[in-house]
């Protein structure tokens, strides 16, 4: 009887042996072979794959860096310099890791903006969006702690400023800060624990990425038209179509990131971080990494410590509830003539906030940061929840195949749709 239940699905008997005991092969076939992708997806849909690849590259390069890094305040800076000068290809590992972090954020920002523009966060993908925001939060924490490890001036003072944010919380703030630091100031205890957490967080991210991907595969991917898959004809198989498309996207991405790693590895670095940390001298301008700068701009736009901290954390927390703030039934901004422009303005505004976040908080820059802050929250709290009351969406195509018949401009009859299939 045993032979009957152990049916031969694959030619290779070893695969059959595995499959019978752990059906992982059929799982991968289903999720990464047969998985139906809407056929109208554009290259914005490649950024999820790019982000996953970048995460793996970060983990691998990070493990090899850790083999030569010493998390002690007396030795951290020198051990990083040793990696740069003496360790074979150490410079390459470190430049891959530091620029990889920046590109990880570029890719993830495009991925998030794609989700916002095409309404990927709406029913039934809300949980998917929430998992994504968790990943983003963990990424920020990981990047921040990683930036502390080289123990340069920006590392030290960035850590000091960010951990001091917690001291703004009434009553428990000071105690919480001391608990986080393990000392009264950023010191050896802090460096040690940041190294430990910086090492473990990426694996937590990897786990949540697994859930994030599994969740999107339940109801299928969204698409530029933002309408549901109605038949098999609306889709293409993940393999080979999407795999090849993502591979091409990765090649282009690889060329760009390699150009930066080899020809401008310090383009996104702060020179002050090549000065060893000095607890007695604060650099004239503490500049956060550009990918965290929009939130830093929000923090500094408020002339009150607690208020600034609350708004900064609020600006991230509000992302969690976006699926419920947006009351419009239409997913894709391609069919939302007014909201579309507000979303694009949101992207531009986020970019401007990041820019002023890296400049001194005074005069015109402060004013721009405040206007940006108002738009950031206005977008989420006023425009997104209420725009559908005055906006008339364009008519949606009946199915994904209709998109190619000019769906959204006029409604083709279902008969026409059948003919083209």
């Amino acid at each position: 009887m045993r032979g009957n239940s152990e049916h031969r699905k694959y030619k290779n008997s070893f695969l059959n042996w595995i499959e019978f005991r752990l059906p992982i092969i059929s799982y991968f076939e289903k999720e990464y072979g047969d998985y139906p992708m809407p056929k109208n997806c554009n290259y914005f849909w490649s950024f999820g794959a790019l982000a996953t690849i970048t995460l793996v590259v970060m983990i691998v390069s990070g493990i090899f860096l850790a083999m030569n890094y010493t998390p002690h305040t007396d030795m951290a800076f020198d051990s990083v310099e040793r990696i740069m000068r003496d360790v074979n290809f150490g410079w390459l590992l470190r430049y891959i890791h530091s620029n990889g972090a920046a590109f990880f954020f570029i890719v993830v920002y495009i991925h998030i903006l794609r989700g916002m523009y095409y309404g990927s966060y709406k029913y039934p993908r809300e949980l998917n969006w929430i998992l994504g925001v968790f990943i983003y939060l963990l990424m920020m924490a990981t990047a921040f702690m990683g930036y502390v490890l080289p123990w340069g001036q920006m590392s030290y003072w960035g850590a000091t400023v960010i951990t001091n944010l917690f001291s703004a919380i009434p009553f428990i703030g000071e105690g919480l800060k001391t608990w986080l630091l393990g000392d009264y100031t950023v010191g050896n205890a802090t460096l040690n624990r940041f190294f430990a957490l910086h090492y473990v967080f990426p694996f937590v991210i990897l786990g949540i990425v697994g859930l994030h991907v599994a969740a999107v595969h339940v109801h299928g991917s969204n698409n530029p038209a933002g309408i549901d898959i109605k038949s098999k004809n609306d889709t293409v198989r993940f393999f080979p179509y999407m795999v090849m498309k993502d591979a091409l996207a990765f090649c282009v991405f690889g060329v760009i990131i390699s150009a930066v790693i080899f020809f401008g590895p310090n383009l996104m670095a702060e020179v002050d971080n090549y000065i060893p940390a000095d607890p007695l001298v604060t650099p004239a301008h503490i500049v956060p990494n550009w990918y965290l700068a929009p939130f830093y701009a929000i923090l500094r736009a408020i002339p009150d410590k607690l208020g600034g901290v609350l708004l900064m954390f609020g600006s991230i927390a509000i992302l969690f509830v976006l699926p419920w703030l947006d009351r419009s039934k239409v997913r894709s901004c391609n069919f939302r003539p007014i909201y579309k422009w507000f979303v694009m303005l949101f992207f531009v505004n986020f970019f401007i906030l990041g820019y002023v976040g890296m400049l001194p908080a005074e005069g015109l820059y402060l004013l721009i940061a405040r206007i940006g802050l108002v738009y950031y929250f206005g977008f989420f709290l006023i425009i997104t929840p209420f725009i559908h009351k005055i906006e008339t969406p364009k008519s949606l195509p009946l199915g994904i195949s209709d998109v190619y018949l000019g769906g959204g401009k006029e409604i083709p009859t279902p008969n026409v749709q059948k003919e083209i299939i």
Partner: protein, 175 residues
């Protein structure tokens, strides 16, 4: 035993099991969380003795105490006057100058901005001392006066005064 009392018994057992389990988990987590607080050697209050005989009037020095910079400034007559003249009730963090010093000419402060922890400028003669002639934090623009009190900017509190005592005319013990 009727069915009702049996249900109650079940509820009680369930509730007490969960409670004990939760307490046990909390007791188990506690040492882990506690291990992240400053260790005994970190807590051991380091004291620093500083020779202040070489500090001229109007000059400041910075010494390190518990990993933090401590400012010691020998104030000029004008600076003392400036600090005393202010109507302290109007300040962001109201405090009288007299409560912040042990000897009028010696001002001892922890040199960490109460906003986000930067070290304010103003120790060197060439530094920007801010609009109130004391210290100026370059990070987010807080101005401190000649008593180390916050006068303008995002910082919520005055620069704190560490515990210190004069061992003799020329030596201060901090801590």
């Amino acid at each position: 035993m009727d069915k009702n009392s049996n249900n109650k018994r079940r509820d009680f057992l369930q509730l007490s099991t969960i409670s004990i389990g939760a307490l046990g988990t909390a007791a188990f987590i506690w040492p882990f969380l506690s291990s992240m607080n400053p260790a005994e050697d970190t807590l051991a209050l380091g004291t620093t003795e500083v020779d202040i005989s070489s500090i001229a009037e109007g000059q400041s020095i910075t010494v390190k105490w518990r990993g933090k910079p401590v400012f010691i400034r020998k104030r000029t007559k004008e600076e003392i006057e400036e600090a005393k003249e202010v109507d302290f009730t109007d300040l962001i963090d109201p405090e009288q100058d007299i409560d912040r010093v042990k000897k009028e000419e010696w001002l001892v402060l922890i040199g960490v901005c109460t906003h986000l922890g930067c070290v304010p400028l103003g120790q060197k003669l060439t530094d920007n001392k801010g609009e109130y002639n004391g210290w100026y934090c370059p990070c987010h623009g807080s101005h401190y006066d000649t008593s180390g009190r916050i006068r303008k900017g995002p910082a919520p509190n005055n620069l704190p005064v560490p515990p210190y005592s004069f061992l003799n005319e020329t030596t201060i013990k901090i801590g």
